[in-house]
Structure formats: C-alpha cells, structure tokens
C-alpha cells in the first residue's frame, strides 16, 4: 500500500485502504483466549441441546476413526479438552435400558487418546440440514470459480454425489466473484515464495510506484481481491488491492515461505483516527457499505456513526459523495473537509471553463 506522502495542498499524509475494524477486534479476542485454551473465547456455559448436537456429530466421526488424540479432537470440534472429556464421559453412560454393554457407548480415554466403540443407534451421522447443504453448495461453487480450479475434478464429482440431497431451490443460488488480473499469478507466487515486481497505483496520491513484494496470502473480501505481502519498498507487511496492480512480473528471487493468519493481516501499519459522522437517511448507504466502530440511532432517523479512517483523502471522498446527507461531528479538523474537497473539485471545473472560454475567445 502506498505510503508516499502527498506533497500538495493541506491534506494529511495518506494511506489508501478503507477501514477494516474486524481484524483488530479479532486479535484481542484471540490473545485473551490463548492464555487458557487454544480456541477462541466463547461466552457462557453450553446448553444441553448444544452438547447433544455436538455429540451426535462427534460419535459417528470417532466411530470411523476409532482412536484419536484428545487434543486433536478438541481442536477439531472447537472445544476445550475439559469440555470434550466431560461430553465423552457423559456419552459413556448413555444407552438403552437395561444397559447391556452392546447398547452402551463404549468410550474411554487413555494416555491422551480417545478410543470409542459406538452402538448402532449413534453410529451414523445425521442428515445434512438445509443450512449445511446451502453452505456446502455455496462453498463448493465459489471454490470452483477460483483460479486453478478443475471443473471436472473431485470437487465437482463430490457435488454430483451431494446433488440428490439438495432441495430444488439450491440451483438458483449463485456466487459471483470479482474478476481481477494477476490473482492466479499472486497465488502461485505465495506458494513458491518468488518475489514479484509490481506497478501499484494509489488513488490517494495519484501515483504509481514500482515495488517488490513477497506475496503471503491472496484473499477476497466484500467483492475485492487483496494480497497480503512483505513490501520490500517500505520494509513492512502490507495489504494491496489486486485490482490496483497495473503490472506484475517475477524476479526469480525466492523468499522462505511464511503463513499469515487471518487475524494477523496487516490492514494498517499505524493507529487509526476515529471520526463521528451524522448520517441522514439519504446517505444511508454509508452505514451499509463501511465497517464502523459504533452506531447511535437518533429519533429523527439519522444515525451517528463512529468509524476509523485511514486517510483524509478517503474521508473527503466519502463526504463529497454523500453531500448534504452527512456531517462531521468530530474531530474538529475534519469539519470543513467536505467544503474543501468540493472546492478542489470545483476548481477543476472553473479551470476548464476559463480554458474553453479563452479558446473560443482566441478563435473569434
């Protein structure tokens, strides 16, 4: 992402990506949870229904495997080891009166392993729910659109086997992924570690920069492709918009491979400023289109929205588009940003007016 400071006008230094609040939140949640367990924090005790529905999934699953490490199984099902052991111990005493051994769930834990023999009644998995069928269908058809997908491969044949289970409406559910050049190349680069030279355009600075990056992860979010990469120009981890990469070529320099977790994505390299906007009904698309930190609904139908802003250029553009539908409540430094942005666009129109006037004058 571009960091070059903008020389002209009164604007602040800029970065280009619109705000994402989610990753920052996730990171704090993970950290606090990591102290006690390996899974994300979850609130409150589990209900009886939750415990039973997980058991009904786990029992056939372990039946197929017979022996699984407790730690592996707990991670797989998003449980703490204590929760898993508690559930399995409960399952071990469940069965049918008069509770002869063949009707009991035979499960024991030994040396960090779960060993289970499950009676017939609990040995087959439940049918897929409509929500699960929907999820599988959406995920599979999305995966099928990804670069390098084989339309006649195992995923396609798995879908064919699942097809008889799908309700008829599944046929008219479609996912359209955005198209961007270089997604495939970046994906290859992220698995080979080959540095790429890119020409990257930043609308905030109106400049193209040449930089070398090592792609780590390619991802799509809200209709756009991004690449998380080591940026050798700035020496930082950055997220680039793939549709702003104008040129790309391999360098034949290879870096060691490295995994980037979703919650580690470097959306920002500096702390962000927060602004509070009063959004009228006419500009409601702002509420719908951008992540926000907090929201207060006012009695008159307007909404006070606090959002993180990566650059004044980005905010100015938002204010220009929303026009009278939005007002900056704070901080004070941005209160005149809408008028300033409007004036700077207006100056372009007056400049071309006078240019065309002088042309016609000279012609006459």
């Amino acid at each position: 992402m571009a960091t070059k400071k903008k020389a002209k006008s009164t604007r602040k230094p800029v970065k280009t990506r619109p705000v994402k609040t989610r990753p920052a939140k996730k990171r704090t949640a993970k950290k606090s949870a990591a102290k006690t367990t390996s899974r994300p924090a979850r609130r409150g005790p589990r209900s009886a229904a939750q415990r039973v529905s997980v058991l009904l999934v786990m029992l056939p699953w372990i039946m197929q495997r017979q022996r699984v490490k407790i730690s592996t199984m707990a991670r797989q099902f998003n449980l703490t080891e204590a929760e898993l052991i508690e559930d399995l111990q409960m399952a071990a005493v469940c069965g049918v009166p008069p509770y002869t051994p063949d009707a009991l769930i035979d499960v024991y834990m030994d040396n960090g392993m779960v060993i289970a023999e499950v009676p017939l009644v609990f040995s087959r998995p439940l049918k897929l729910s409509t929500a699960e069928l929907f999820a599988v269908s959406v995920m599979a058809q999305t995966a099928m659109q990804l670069p390098g997908a084989n339309k006649k491969g195992p995923l396609a044949s798995a879908l064919t086997k699942l097809a008889p289970l799908m309700p008829s409406g599944a046929e008219t559910i479609k996912v359209q992924l955005p198209k961007a050049r270089y997604v495939k190349e970046l994906l290859t680069a992220s698995s080979s570690g080959e540095r790429q030279e890119i020409e990257y355009f930043s609308p905030a600075t109106q400049k193209r920069t040449m930089r070398t990056i090592t792609a780590r992860k390619v991802f799509e979010d809200a209709g756009r492709w991004y690449v998380a990469a080591d940026d050798h120009l700035s020496g930082e981890d950055r997220v680039f918009r793939v549709d702003r990469i104008e040129q790309l070529s391999g360098t034949e320099i290879f870096d060691q491979l490295r995994e980037v977790r979703d919650d580690e994505l470097p959306w920002f390299s500096e702390s962000l400023q927060q602004v509070t906007l009063r959004v009228q009904k006419s500009a409601r698309w702002i509420v719908e289109s951008y992540p926000y930190v907090s929201r207060v609904d006012n009695a008159d139908g307007s909404v006070d929205l606090t959002m993180s802003v990566t650059s004044s250029h980005w905010l100015g553009r938002l204010l220009l588009r929303a026009g009278k539908g939005v007002k900056v409540l704070k901080p004070a430094q941005y209160k005149n940003l809408a008028t300033e942005t409007a004036r700077s666009v207006l100056s372009r129109y007056s400049a071309s007016n006078s240019a065309s006037n002088s042309t016609s004058n000279s012609a006459s």
Binding site: K127, A131, E220, A342
Partner: protein
C-alpha cells in the same frame, strides 16, 4: 425422587430409547423405561419431555407421533425411525472429501455450517491456514431464514423501504460483498431485487413449495450491474461525456468496456461515454474519482454537477 442426570444425558437416552424399541412408546412408558430421569410430578415430567423433544427435532431428528384410540384414547405414542434422520452413505472418495475440506477452508461464510457438514460427511476441518481465502459473509440475522426459504421455495414476508413486502424468492446472488434476493414481489406484481442487508426487522417465511421458479430464470442477469444501474433512471439525458485522468482511466476502461471510449488524449487521460439516466447513481460513481474526473458534456449535466459542488462548498 428423580435421579440427578443432566438434560443432555436424558436427551441422549431418550433418543436411544425411541430408536431402539420396536413399538412406539407413550410418555408413561418412556418414564418407566428411563427410570426416574424425568421429574416425579406428571406436569414437570411432561414439560421436561416436551423440551427434550423440541430440542431433538431442532437438531433434525424427526420424532413421530400418533394419537391412540380405543381404550387408550387420547394417549400419544412416540417413536423415531433411524432412516429418517441418518445420512445415507454417499460413498465419497478420499479425494472428494479432501476437495470439500479445501473448499470449506478457503471459503469463509462467517457461520459453522460448512464445518458441520464436513464432519457429517466424515471429513475434517483443516486447521492449517490456506494461502487463499474468500469471504462470502452470511452474517445477517435473517440469513438462515432466507436461505432456507430460497432452498425450499417458501414465500417471504418482510419490510423493505418502509413497505411490507410479500416475495416469492426465485433465487439469491452474492456479488460485491452483498447478498441479493430476486423474486416475485406480490405488492408490485412483478419481479424485483432486494438487498438482504436492507431488509428492515424480521423475516417471516411461509410453507415449503409455495411457488415455482420461472423456467430459464437467470439469477446473475436479474441483478443489474453498476453500469446498468447508471442507465436505469428516468433522467432526460441518458449519456454523458466524462474525462478521466490517466491514473484512473484504465479502471474505467475495464469497467465500462472499450465501446465506452470516445477518445484517448495524448496525456493518457480518456474521454468516456457513460450512462447517466440515474443521475444520483451517476454522481456517486463520478465523485468516487474526486478531482480525477470531469463531466464535459452535455452542458445540463455538467451544470448540475457544478451546482451540487457549489452548494456543498458553500457549506449550505
């Protein structure tokens, strides 16, 4: 005294019992068989049993019922037929299962249904992070109701733009970070597009198989693209000439196609012909480029843009 067992344990035993016994059981028989796992009082036992039954049904286990006649008139019997809830063996190969696992690891829905499906299919959640991911958010509060309605052809009722709508959802489309419902709007007596996140309040769904989707229904074609949105208005002027600076011209060219190009100027900027019948949508599109784009013609559109800018810069 009832013996102390957790509700979870009692539910497991109830399920095992209803599956195992050859004959349907009355609640009285269930209580006898389960030996005091239910409370002693009839009323409390009935309430607890109803709770268990509802929770099991919620999980997809159909508990069948039949009201008896004759001597036992009015008494209800219960049973579960395993074949009604068990997944038949799909005979997935290892390769197919791995492909599904990869798809689930790559495509994020913000809901766990994909993982649950994998476990039921004998697969595993891949815990290592994929080098590619796609976010198809399903986080809306109404999403499960809506997807279920689309899958099973149920009519939906919801409020949209201040009006109560009744919609037969023909299909759904995920595009540019939004989910759309395309369906027959009973209020307008016509096919309409609704954005899921713009639905106000709760969604109510009717019976399954309530309607038929028209033949050759094209989901993607039913939702207008940005280009079509700009053209879908009642403004008198339908196209405008827009000059876009070199830096942004390539993007506009990709979006609107080569046929929209009027002239490539020497400095790299490009004159485009852009639909503008929907002037509000056009202005939003234009101002996304801030000072890097300018309407050249027609004069009326240019004047309207200038007037909008003047009002904003005057702080009115």
């Amino acid at each position: 005294m009832a013996v102390k067992v957790s509700q979870a344990e009692r539910m497991m035993n109830l399920l095992a019992l209803l599956v195992d016994r050859a004959k349907p059981l009355t609640l009285r028989q269930v209580r006898q068989e389960l030996g005091k796992q239910y409370p002693d009082s009839d009323e409390a036992a009935r309430a607890a049993f109803e709770r268990d039954k509802a929770a099991l049904r919620e999980m997809g286990i159909p508990i069948e019922t039949k009201t008896l006649g004759g001597d036992a008139a009015g008494e209800v019997t219960y049973w579960v037929n395993r074949s009604n809830y068990e997944l038949s063996d799909l005979r997935l190969t290892e390769e197919e299962r791995t492909a599904l696992q990869l798809a689930v690891a790559t495509v994020h829905l913000g809901a766990q249904h994909g993982e649950e499906a994998l476990w039921k299919l004998g697969g595993e959640r891949i815990l290592r992070k994929a080098s590619m991911s796609v976010n198809i958010g399903l986080v809306d509060q109404n999403m499960s109701m809506i997807t279920d309605a689309v899958m099973k052809r149920r009519t939906l009722n919801f409020e949209y733009k201040g009006e109560q709508r009744q919609v037969d959802p023909y299909g759904m489309l995920s595009r540019s970070g939004f989910w759309y419902i395309i369906g027959f709007d009973h209020l307008r007596r016509d096919q309409r597009v609704f954005r899921v996140d713009r639905i106000e309040g709760e969604v109510i769904a009717g019976e399954a198989r309530a309607f038929k989707t028209p033949e050759n229904f094209d989901v993607a074609g039913a939702v207008p693209t940005e280009k079509q949105m700009l053209a879908a208005g009642d403004g008198e002027v339908t196209t405008a000439v827009v000059l876009v600076d070199a830096a942004l011209a390539a993007g506009v060219r990709r979006e609107f196609g080569e046929s929209s190009v009027i002239k490539d100027r020497d400095d790299g900027s490009v004159e485009f012909s852009i639909p503008c019948a929907n002037l509000d949508a056009f202005r939003l599109w234009l101002f996304a480029m801030v000072e890097s784009a300018e309407v050249l013609e027609p004069q009326t559109v240019r004047e309207q843009i200038v007037q909008w800018l003047e009002e904003l810069s005057a702080g009115k």
